[in-house]
Amino acid sequence: MRDSVRFIRQGRVVELKSFGPTETLLDHLRLTERACGTKEGCNEGDCGACTVAVGTHEDGKVVYRPVNACILFVGQLDGKEIVTVEDIAGSGGLHPVQQAMVDHHGSQCGFCTPGIVMSLFALYQDAGRATPPPRAVIDEWLSGNLCRCTGYRPIVEAARTALSAPPDDMFTRSAEATGGVLQFLADAEDVFVGTDQRFFAAPRSVEALAALYERHPDATLVAGATDVGLWITKQFRPVEKVIHLGRVDGLDRIEDVGPAVIIGATATYEAATDALAGIDPDIGAVVRRIGSRQVRASGTIGGNIANGSPIGDTPPMLIALGATLELVSAKANRAVPLEDFFIAYGRQDRQPGEFVAGVLVPKLKAGQVFRAYKISKRFDQDISAVMGAFLFTLADGVITEARIAFGGLAGTPKRAAAVEARLIGVAPGSAAAWSPAMEAFAEDFQPLTDMRASAHYRLETARALLGKALLETAGAPTTRTRVIGQREARQEGAHVGA
């Protein structure tokens, strides 16, 4: 048992023994370290001014990811390296990213600048990126950085210049040493800082987690904290006991088991993207638009399910695919079809002491077609107005089984049972035969009008998405249907560095 957390800061190992269980990394930097280069713009993970790069050791390499320091708890940094805007200029002058930002006038008021510099710094370190990456990749890495002054174009130009050569800076040159220290920090100890009444804990194994959670069923489980962070910074909920899942061995597994893929509860969106996109490219296209790069680097598929949001983007897709949730406690393990896990708004089928261990996602079988669409006002970093996922099984040119699920149309992610029933025997290309299914939407859903969209828009869009899915299943070109949000689609695969 270790009663401290340790991380690398400016080349040195920092050990913290005394900190609040929900103290954020941003408060640690700005108020404790008095390192004010990292800015506070919104304190809820929306603006990206607080972006810092977090280094981890993976597969023999040091990998840097941009994260929002404002909704990350400092304890979650155990075993990692924290790099801020103050740290990257070497003795020889500005970092290439910084220099390009100056040269291209990528900074006006300068307040979003540190966050933008750090998002681009993380992309700079990606050894697999193109030199320079295409616009779509730059957009994606900047999707979580709001700028009100520049109109972004000078920043994109700066990015192109800074990223026109492979990474070569003091971080790449010291990667081996850094990796060594990170490996040393990744010890086998369970972490527990605080008292039984108020603590930050980071168990190392599923067994230790189950035992700790059984003892403290009132503790809050935290994976990426992109949601729980807001409980603290915006809702001011008193959270005294935090169990961080990030150190639990194997909980972040992503495993291909033949007919299905298992996504561990703490696998981040970013880590799971390729495995999910391997089932169908549409899943990758949707996941790439969840939150921002920063949110996807921290947020997890398991968290997106476990918090039961009616507008979470992954559950409709996973429900349509027939995914099964694996729930674990100190007493027993059980599997639940994902659609049964969501009972009602804010209520899930999870018992005290029970946690999500992973989700089993079946791959497509022969004769199956999958489509998923996210509709939001803003292309990037926006909550869906409607999220639709469709799985059709076809034989002899007609649909023999349909699994359709929507987000944003009800209090939970929900299947469209009546619509599905009316599609059996329908040839997807014959629009005349769709009308019973289109009419059945009113049986399945009575959506609300709220500031994100009107009930009318939600239902009409849901119908339009079904039409698109059917047309595409019948062989219509798919490019246009990736036109979602404010502008045209990305080439598939644009989310990866290359």
């Binding site: 609040g20 103290e23 408060d27 700005r30 108020l31 004010c36 280069g37 990292t38 800015k39 506070e40 713009g41 919104c42 304190n43 809820e44 929306d46 603006c47 103050e86 990213v97 910084q98 930002m101 100056v102 006038h105 900074s107 006006q108 008021c109 300068g110 307040f111 540190p114 510099v117 730059i138 957009d139 994606e140 900047l142 950085n145 709001l146 009100r148 002054c149 520049t150 109109g151 972004y152 174009r153 000078p154 915006k234 001011f236 509709i375 006002k377 292309f379 909550i383 500031m451 969209a453 828009y457 009409e460 869009t461 339009a464 246009r480 036109v483 979602i484 404010q486 502008r487 045209e488």
Partner: protein, 717 residues
């Protein structure tokens, strides 16, 4: 000494001199100063739209760890809030500003009602949650009902926002028209949402007060706080070296500045007040929700016979903020008959305030959208209609323009955009199944200048310091003024340090309305000329450094004041522009995307093309947000903005930036100021929203007479 080479630096794309500080995180903003013993405040906001505080229980909060004080109307000092001889141009002309903790009244949801001061921010926030408040609510007015609209007060009218204005006979002009349009538009309430939240640190030293503040006008903060506390202005210093964006939200001295000073006084510690993102929505103003009716009349040849434009804007109950919304109706086009009517609709809300292009951008949205409707009704090209009605003089004042190259803007932008390819009929252009729309609009924003002073000090080591109490909220004042000084002194940019953002520096006007460059720049140029004259009076020759040393001097200083003169009575000045936009609409899903925007601008002489281009691109993206995303969602049940955060108040992200083309047409305005510049910031957001709205009509054949335009407006047919 040789005369400096003419324009060696002015006109060059110099990189911003504050760039390295900003990209390394060393630029220090208001919240980041750390005086010894700094304590932290958490502001408690009212949760009802109108009423009185019946009971306020602070006992639990006062006993919490780290808490130094809880201040409310029950224990705050009574402050004199002295009336100023003349209200500053950034303040409403009528009504009373919100007074902090002086009584139990609640005037809007979100009004500060108490503040907790503690050793740490976390402790202050935690204690703020534990203050119990009971209210006696009274019936609030939380709906925008134009029927309740009233004309502005006399003071407001005198300040250039009259209830009625115009020339000729609007009704007669409309009656004689062959073609008319009569249309109504809605502009949503918008929030500045600069990325830096507003913050103030107050530190008392005896009866002297230092404020580290986010401000676009440090010297006005001094005067304002002196009046609030009834102390001498000479005892107050305001420091604001960097401002993380403001767009008008930091023009005024807001109540939280007073809160910081009260909190510091009562605890005997320096205190930081930093507003949360959510608090900003009810603490520092906004662009008001505005309803407008535009009636245009035209002769068969397209000449305007009448412009009638009415506006009704929301306003707070306690203070009368009004805008120059209807000025474009009077100045943009040549027309013998113009009539405007301005009304204010009181609501229980915090006071609105200027936001980039204040008033003008709102009025221009309606005017330029209506001009597009008129072009359709007349079956003429929208550009041709505007050229037909070009205002050769400012017909509001009858004065000639000091410079105007608007025709060149239309021509250049249309050419670069490829306007000639536009098929006039709506719904006639498609790419695949996307509808394609081309739209355009005129941009206009008055160019002003104010008195300013500057000091220049030459040093024997060959460097110089330029000093004035200006601000730089991001547009590049540090850099452009340095360039002006470099040219005037014949020194390289690197040899000059420009100090601003400190109220003890020479007088500078408000950093708003795009006046900083021409006002402060002119003063700096004159101060440089004055110091050069002094230098020339010295014996010896060679460089500045050599001559100072030869005379045994380690420095040589001179100051100057530069003011606008008689020319303002003989000329009208304005920046102009033309904006062209292409949109793509998918009616199946209601999605819209701006494919590209082209802007051509007449801003006078461009001091730094790199900075100027960036300003324009940023302004155009602000206009895109205005047209398609930005809106406060108002809940009339609570008199509150529901989407008071950056997840749900949408602003453009990087991926929303289309191809943007910015050109400056040749122009120089040496009447407005010797530099020949006209100022550049507001103009860049003007005209963008109507150009997009007009393009949406061209694409879909359906008029959207409100902004923002949303997917649900565009779905289906």
């Amino acid at each position: 000494m040789n005369a400096p080479a003419l324009s060696a630096v002015i006109g060059q794309p110099v990189s911003r001199v504050d760039g390295p500080a900003k990209v390394t995180g060393t630029a220090r903003y208001a919240a980041e100063f750390v005086p010894d013993g700094l304590a932290y405040a958490s502001v408690v906001s009212a949760t009802i739209p109108r009423g009185r505080i019946r009971a306020l229980d602070t006992s639990a909060a006062e006993g919490m760890p780290g808490v130094l004080a809880v201040v409310s109307h029950r224990n705050a000092p009574k402050l004199p809030y002295l009336e100023r001889d003349q209200r500053p141009p950034v303040d409403p002309k009528s009504g009373d500003q919100l007074r902090m903790f002086q009584d139990d009244k609640v005037l809007f949801n979100g009004q500060p009602v108490a503040v907790v001061i503690a050793d740490s921010q976390q402790e202050a926030d935690a204690a703020a949650r534990c203050i119990g408040i009971a209210y006696d609510e009274t019936e609030p007015t939380t709906t925008f009902d134009p029927g309740r609209g009233r004309p502005p007060s006399e003071e407001t009218a005198k300040g250039g926002r009259p209830g009625a204005a115009g020339r000729g006979d609007g009704a007669a002009g409309l009656a004689e028209a062959a073609t008319t349009v009569d249309v109504t538009y809605v502009q949503a309430r918008e929030h500045h949402n600069a990325i830096e939240p507003h913050a103030t640190i107050a530190q008392w030293d005896g009866d002297s007060l230092t404020l580290y503040d986010k401000s676009q006008w440090v010297q006005n903060v001094v005067v304002e706080i002196a009046h609030v506390f009834g102390i001498e202005a000479g005892k107050i210093r305001v420091i604001s070296p960097f401002v993380g964006g403001a767009f008008g939200s930091a023009l005024r001295t807001w109540p939280h500045v007073t809160i910081a000073a009260i909190a510091a006084k009562m605890t005997g510690r320096p205190v930081r007040v930093e507003l949360s993102r959510r608090q900003l929505y009810h603490s520092v103003g906004f662009r008001p929700h505005t309803l407008q009716r535009v009636r245009l009349g035209a002769a068969p040849d397209g000449r305007l016979t009448a412009i009638l434009q009415d506006a009704a804007a929301q306003v707070a109950t306690y203070e009368e903020y009004a805008e120059t919304t209807l000025q474009p109706a009077e100045t943009t086009y040549s027309c013998p008959n113009v009539a405007t009517a301005y009304r204010l609709v009181e609501m229980d809300t915090n006071s609105p305030c200027p936001m980039r292009g204040p008033g003008i951008v709102t009025g221009l949205y309606a005017l330029e959208a209506a001009m597009d409707e008129l072009a359709v009704a007349l079956n003429v090209d929208p550009v041709a209609l505007r050229l037909k009605n070009h205002a050769d003089i400012n017909e509001k004042t009858g004065l000639p323009w000091s410079s105007k190259a608007l025709k060149a803007c239309y021509e250049t932008a249309a050419e670069r955009f490829g306007w000639a390819d536009r098929i006039a009929a709506p719904r006639s252009m498609r790419i695949g199944t996307d509808l394609v729309g081309y739209g355009m609009a005129t941009a206009i924003y008055h160019a002003d200048r104010a008195p300013a002073e500057a000091e220049v000090i030459l040093f024997a080591n060959g460097t110089a310091v330029v000093r004035t109490a200006a601000s730089d909220m991001g547009p590049g004042t540090y850099t452009s003024i340095t360039q002006i000084a470099a040219d005037e002194l014949g020194l390289p940019v690197e040899a000059i340090r420009f100090e601003l953002g400190d109220s003890t520096l020479p007088m500078a006007p408000v950093h708003g309305g795009s006046i900083t460059l021409v006002s402060v720049g002119s003063a700096v140029a004159e101060a440089c000329a004055a110091v050069r004259q002094k230098l020339e009076a010295l014996t010896g020759e060679g460089s500045i450094a050599e001559r100072l040393r030869a005379n045994g001097l380690d420095r040589l200083a001179a100051s100057a004041k530069a003011s606008p003169g008689e020319e303002t009575k003989r000329y009208a000045s304005s920046a102009f522009g033309a904006v062209f936009v292409e949109v793509r609409v998918d009616e199946g899903l209601g999605t819209l995307r701006v494919k590209r925007m082209t802007g051509a601008y007449d801003v006078g002489r461009v001091i730094n093309p790199k900075i100027a281009r960036s300003q324009c691109i940023g302004g155009m993206m602000g206009g895109l947000g205005m047209a398609l995303m930005e809106a406060a969602e108002w809940d009339p049940r609570f008199g509150k903005v529901m989407n008071a955060n950056l997840a749900e108040y949408l602003v453009p992200v990087c991926a929303d930036t289309p191809a943007l083309d910015v050109t400056f047409v040749p122009s120089e305005d040496t009447v407005l100021n010797p530099l020949g510049a006209k100022g550049l910031a507001e103009i860049a957001i003007c005209g963008v929203a109507p150009a997009i709205a007009n393009a949406v009509f061209h694409a879909t054949g359906r008029r959207q007479r409100h902004i923002p335009i949303r997917p649900e407006d565009l779905i289906g047919t």
